[in-house]
């Protein structure tokens, strides 16, 4: 039976394991737990990525304010890199804005898949402010952790997680800017590499087969569409791969018993 046939269930009524129920005492506990979860590998990775980005700003002759502003107001590393690459090669203002926006279209579906998991009470206009903290790191961790967190504490957890990730990116950028040229190229290489590596590793923790198939197809279609058209490639690769995965799941996987998801 597909889930569309079922009546709407309030997420807060879904029974959780005992461990999940007892995980947080109150929102403040959840918030600080989010901060603690971010403070390990995720913050380290994001910090390293932003250090690499700051170094990129310095070596390409941007000023420190401009470089830091992108981290503060955009907080989307791939978009920031696209902005710099296009500014260096002298693209027009309109082309830059459009290309960066297209790179950021992933935020639409990231938000749409994460925010409905919050408690109904939390789904109000304040989310328009909270959403700025959403980036790939916080999204990947939240998607992994939310099913073990009580619905009413999810927003507080996400805010703790996202806030630390956002705040750590500012000193990371500034540090990278001033360190550029002082550290050997091999270290910069490691800093630049740590970000994609982290995402790659978190993908191994994704459980539902529909999403695993989607990611596998995304790995194949991503480069193909990139060759066809660089700016729209993420969007097209995502739509094509995701749709194929969805239909594979719908036609074949759901009929089998014992599939994960």
């Amino acid at each position: 039976m597909s889930s569309a046939d079922q009546p709407y269930i309030d997420p807060s009524e879904i029974a959780l394991d005992e461990s999940a129920v007892a995980r947080f005492k109150n929102p403040s506990d959840a918030f600080w737990s989010g901060i603690r979860d971010a403070a390990g590998a995720p913050a380290m990775v994001l910090f390293a990525g932003m250090v690499g980005f700051g170094a990129m700003g310095k070596t390409n002759g941007f000023d420190v304010w401009f470089t830091t502003f992108t981290s503060f107001f955009m907080f989307a590393l791939p978009g920031q890199v696209v902005l710099f690459e296009m500014a260096i090669t002298g693209s027009s203002v309109l082309a830059i804005a459009l290309a960066v926006t297209l790179t950021s279209t992933r935020f639409i579906t990231m938000t749409v898949t994460l925010f409905p998991q919050f408690h109904q009470r939390d789904r109000n206009r304040s989310l328009y402010a909270s959403v700025h903290l959403l980036a790939m790191t916080a999204w990947a961790i939240s998607m992994r952790e939310f099913h073990e967190i009580e619905v009413k504490h999810r927003l507080a957890y996400f805010l703790g997680l996202g806030l630390l990730c956002w705040l750590i990116s500012i000193p990371g950028t500034v540090l990278g800017y001033y360190l550029a040229g002082m550290v050997p190229a091999s270290v910069t290489l490691g800093l630049v590499f740590i970000n994609p590596l982290f995402f790659l590793l978190t993908f191994t923790e994704v459980k539902p087969w529909i999403n695993r198939i989607a990611m596998f197809l995304g790995c194949i279609f991503g480069p193909i569409f990139f060759v066809i058209d660089r700016d729209t490639s993420l969007l097209t690769a995502g739509l094509v791969s995701g749709t194929i995965a969805y239909f594979i799941d719908r036609k074949f996987l759901r009929k089998k018993s014992g599939y994960l998801g």
Binding site: A4, Y8, F73, P116, S241
Partner: protein, 119 residues
């Protein structure tokens, strides 16, 4: 637009800051559209399943792009070295997924730094 282009090859001065404002607005617009659409979607619906698959595909495509088709410094590392290091890190990771994220990250990063030193 063309006046900005002809001033200098690289975008500079006010044009640069206007591009930044445009990029910030565009990025936030995507986040805001997401919030707006998320109000009317519930997590048990078919569209939610489809969008989740699309999102995972997008972030996978983005990650592969950063590894296989990087810009700048990372492009100077041969593709097979990048893929080999990724494969080794994933190997460490899947050997015990709940415990090995940090070791896998460290090994991958140190291997890349090591390559940078010996090349």
């Amino acid at each position: 637009m063309s006046t900005v282009d002809t001033l200098t090859n690289a975008l500079s001065g006010w044009g640069l800051w206007i591009a930044l404002v445009g990029a910030c607005l565009g990025t936030y617009l995507c986040r805001a559209i997401g919030v707006f659409l998320s109000q009317s979607i519930n997590q048990d619906s078919e569209i939610f399943r489809w969008l989740a698959a699309v999102t995972y595909a997008m972030v996978a495509a983005l990650t592969v792009r950063l590894i296989v088709m990087p810009l700048g410094l990372m492009a100077t590392v041969p593709l097979w070295i990048r893929i080999l290091i990724c494969a080794l890190s994933i190997g460490v990771m899947v050997s015990r997924p709940t415990k090995r994220l940090v070791p896998a990250l460290l090994i991958g990063t140190l291997l890349m730094v090591g390559y940078g030193i010996i090349r």
